[in-house]
Symmetry: C2
Amino acid sequence: MRAWSIEKPGGRQVLQQIEVEKPVPKQGELLVEVKAAGINRTDTLTRQNTALTEPYPILGVEVSGVVVENQSTDSKLHAGTRVCGLVNHGGYGEYVTMPDERAIVLPDELTFEEGAAIPEVFLTAYQTMYWLGELKEKEKILIHAAGSGVGTAAIQMASQLSQATIFATAGHPEKLEKAKELGAHVLVNYKEESFAERISGVTEGIGVDVILDFVGGSYWKMNLESCAVDARWILIGTLGGSEVDKVSLGDVMKKRIVLKGTLLTPRSDDYKAQLSQEFAEVVMPFFKEKKLKPVIHVVIPFEELPEAHRMMEDNENTGKIIMKVSD
Amino acid sequence: MRAWSIEKPGGRQVLQQIEVEKPVPKQGELLVEVKAAGINRTDTLTRQNTALTEPYPILGVEVSGVVVENQSTDSKLHAGTRVCGLVNHGGYGEYVTMPDERAIVLPDELTFEEGAAIPEVFLTAYQTMYWLGELKEKEKILIHAAGSGVGTAAIQMASQLSQATIFATAGHPEKLEKAKELGAHVLVNYKEESFAERISGVTEGIGVDVILDFVGGSYWKMNLESCAVDARWILIGTLGGSEVDKVSLGDVMKKRIVLKGTLLTPRSDDYKAQLSQEFAEVVMPFFKEKKLKPVIHVVIPFEELPEAHRMMEDNENTGKIIMKVSD
């Protein structure tokens, strides 16, 4: 089969197409014929990871495709089933193995390209907002980096699953326009105004129940001001730096704030399996009914992977970059 | 009936004994003949609270006694039942009303003085360690201020309910000795050594799963260092200041730390009721079997309340100060 690996760790020029044997599924695994793969920042980082040694892996952590062999006890994942899900490397190949518990059945209403655009960003947003943020029906949520992959997924779910009141921040009018279209109610261009003041005004000083914080350091004080009593503040990125000068713990106590740091990638296989299963059950019906939509920036052919990495590294995309692997 | 109130907000000299009508229980409430009352810091703060207006309340938030009238639908709380629990003021009187859901039935094995020493500190420690800290069987917990009321309660429960490995810090050898006697395994005199280094050594760099933090600011860096991956760090006091310079959010994310600020007193009636009910069911059997013991510093007669407030304000006590109200 064809696949994309690397000659050695490095820039985009190290990406190389290889011809290898199909992988063989172990007990509990599926063999999936890959139709489409999502391109993720973690792939570009793996490509450059000088700690890797030969044999270098097939890149890619997110695919959609068709089950061709089922070595698990879950008979509903029979050969021919359309699935998507996270894999531990191997996504940029024509076939990949996937633990059965990671497989999310893909409704007929979605194309394979759309399926490959779901797992990474929607699972991350779901985990952050529900497992960690414990977002409840009609609560108020502040979503930073509203134009990002996880941001656009979070806005849609907060709107469709929870009828939340959504405050979204971004630095470009077109990203805020997109956020509004996806369900955000209050839009703040952080280059033009203080989100803390806006939230205080709109909520009459009460604040928000959940914050999805990709920014960290530079937003610390305004995030703290924006928290309601019993707020859950989930820290999933430090785009604004990871150091904070002067933290007031008195406010953290008085408001009974819960601050949770998280990263999805290093979590255990078991955690990802449970997350995938719950997501399949709770969220996938919304995709079937077209209430949720994967946001796709572009679909590129298999041969043009290096160009896909360039787009990712130049931050050109406002949704997922998808590689078509086979028809 | 006799009770202690105040002439006006102020120092200990404003405490005054008054003669008033017995309170009348509303629907859902019990009338309790008070046998003993716990003295709490919140009482001394209420005494000084210049925001209070007349009529000034009867002080006291924690009692034990006997039910004399039951206006609730819970027939097991019939007249004659021995109970203890939290009340909204009124604890320093011969009779007090208590919502039925706050009542914790007192086993015959415990005296009324012991019963009055349970609610505030054990409920706070239970809520902090289990509801917020989610302490699980055989995990590792770091308990600061090991000699405090909440500290001594937490050590006993972590040991008896969870077989936890307990790291305790205090500044006096006799407090550490008491902590050891109550079940702590690793004792650190913070005046003599770094608890972070000690924990790193004992746990081989892994750290602890839960921190009960009464200290805040001055311990921030060492607490962060002491956290294991997925640690729950519960902030319930800022004895060491509430300002932190330089916080590293990268570590909070990488270790997936959950930081929760909390205060029990401002929580809702419903929250306290649920907490009391779960506590009665899960924890009280351990008191009956003498596996848990209230730590009492002194029992003083009703007439000597001002002296009890003096002890509290001079931080003389190493356990609860209890006022005997009637025989």
